[in-house]
């Protein structure tokens, strides 16, 4: 059985009247790469804060490396990155890395860290003089300085350009390939899709779905069929057998169906004029939107 590096058991957290996290169970096994997804206020950061020992759960329990995360020695194998860049502006880049490295028994050499994150030529600069993207990269680099077993990344690539994002993804993948465990949140579904093996969808403080990227997509079990048409009969489109939803996206008419092949067959049989047909599987984004919006309407009902 693989070792569980971090675990939440029925963890709840309240801020006054607001329930930020409601009875959440989560296991982070060694060697996994988990993406936490959820809209703003879903409880992602709260869950991370509980797991790394920044806050205590109101009820339930959390464990880090088999013990309470508030115990400093438990955090020896943890690497974390600050959510916004809040680096001490007057310290130099190499000083910040040195400072963090001093906390760990066997840290990476400063040069190696900076080289991996493309900051070698910035070592003597004060962090306040770095660009936003460079600060972000340094902040993420700090998570890896202590050769941790588990890295927790809260929105690691927010505010980065495409090139810098790829550099970071490579660093995260390398770390994972060497046996490291990663727990990350992101607003970019593309990022979760590119990195995570397992996706946990949070909404309203609860776990809505937990599975591989393919499984989460499959939960929606829908494909999208879209085409252009000059004068379509909307009522006829809705009446097509197998079509579960219709919407218009600019000039394109978009139908969703559990069985795309059947829908296309029916479309042809109906004799309706169409062109530029496109069939694709639902993206993680669509699955995510479907999951989180059902949760919302379910709550109001």
């Amino acid at each position: 059985m693989t070792e569980i590096l971090a675990r939440a058991l029925g963890a709840s957290r309240r801020y006054g009247d607001v329930v930020a996290l409601d009875n959440v169970d989560l296991d982070v096994p060694a060697g996994s790469m988990i993406g936490l997804l959820g809209p703003n206020g879903a409880g992602k950061s709260t869950l991370l804060n509980l797991l790394v020992g920044l806050r205590r759960p109101t009820s339930g329990s959390v464990e880090l490396f088999g013990g309470p995360p508030l115990d400093a020695s438990r955090r020896q194998g943890l690497g974390m990155t600050p959510q916004q860049t809040g680096l001490p502006p007057t310290l130099r880049v190499n000083e910040v890395v040195d400072f963090v490295a001093a906390h760990y028994p066997d840290p990476m050499p400063v040069d190696e860290v900076l080289a991996q994150f493309g900051l070698s030529d910035k070592a003597r600069k004060q962090t306040g003089a770095l660009s936003g993207g460079q600060q972000r990269r340094l902040a993420v680099a700090l998570a890896f300085v202590g050769r941790p077993r588990l890295v927790v990344l809260d929105e690691p690539t927010t505010g980065l350009d495409v090139g810098a994002r790829r550099t970071l993804w490579d660093a995260i993948r390398t770390f994972h390939a060497d046996g490291g465990t990663v727990l990350l949140t992101s607003h970019y579904l593309e990022e979760i899709e590119a990195l995570a093996e397992r996706v946990v969808v949070l909404g309203g403080g609860k776990v809505l779905a937990d599975g591989s990227v393919a499984e989460i997509r499959g939960q929606l079990a829908r494909s999208t069929v879209s085409f252009r048409a000059d004068s379509p009969d909307i009522s006829k489109l809705n009446a097509l057998p197998g079509a579960v939803a219709y919407r218009r996206d600019g000039e394109r008419h978009v139908l969703q169906a559990a069985d795309a092949d059947e829908l296309v067959r029916q479309l042809v049989i109906s004799g309706m004029e169409f062109h530029d047909l496109e069939v694709r599987a639902a993206s993680l984004e669509e699955a995510f939107l479907a999951l989180t919006t059902t949760e919302k309407t379910g709550a109001t009902r």
């Binding site: 804060n49 790394v52 020992g53 920044l54 400093a72 020695s73 438990r74 955090r75 020896q76 943890l78 974390m80 990155t81 600050p82 959510q83 916004q84 860049t85 809040g86 680096l87 001490p88 007057t90 310290l91 000083e95 400072f99 963090v100 001093a102 906390h103 760990y104 004060q126 700090l142 202590g146 927790v152």
Partner: protein
Amino acid sequence: MNLALVYARYQILENIRVPIAVISSAMFPALSLLFFVVPFDYAQEPTSATTAVAQLTVFSVMSSMLFTYGIGIAEERERSWDPYLRTLPAGAQPRIAGRFATGAVFMLLGLVPLLLVGAFGTAATITPTRLLLGIGSLLIAALPFLFGGLAIGYSLSAKAAGTAVTRGAGTGGVGVGGNRAQHARVARVRAVDRGHRRSGRLGLPPRRRPAFPVRQGKRQGPFRGRPPGHPGGWGRLSRSRVRA
């Protein structure tokens, strides 16, 4: 390296890279001495000058404690760096110890200009032993302000802490006022002494005795009339300037 030392080192580095903050906090008590003590006669009396310097050291310690801890901690807590530090595998001890060391360093640093002005600008005197004893007692006297600063820093937002500390320093202004009152008292006691010696009788000195040495009219300190050896004629100089 000891983690507390690491924290102290980087906190000192962080602060010292903003020299204006360090200099202004270190210069303020020295400037108070320069403006409110040095120009007056009692700066030439060893006892009252020494007392004035000693009192300002207490004021300096108070303000540096309240500022470093009160405002400093409140500001740090508002940056996301602070929660990040709490995820590092170190307990609160090295951070707190480092903070104390940083505070002590800047406190002692703030005393240097004050002691220099005291030594060279006034008649204040002290033996090395008493200086060490004085610094020792200052460290103890700093504790209530340290705790006050910690309480402000950890309970208020940076803005509120700023107000609280400035009000605290405002009461420190009372300390400077008390300083002057103290001088008046010292001067009065001396006047009593002199009166007694002259008249050879006991009891209260005559009422008309000056209560404040400044008014005695003797030109002693700097800024008091023309400097010795001056040819005179400030007035003529200014008149000629006006004409030109």
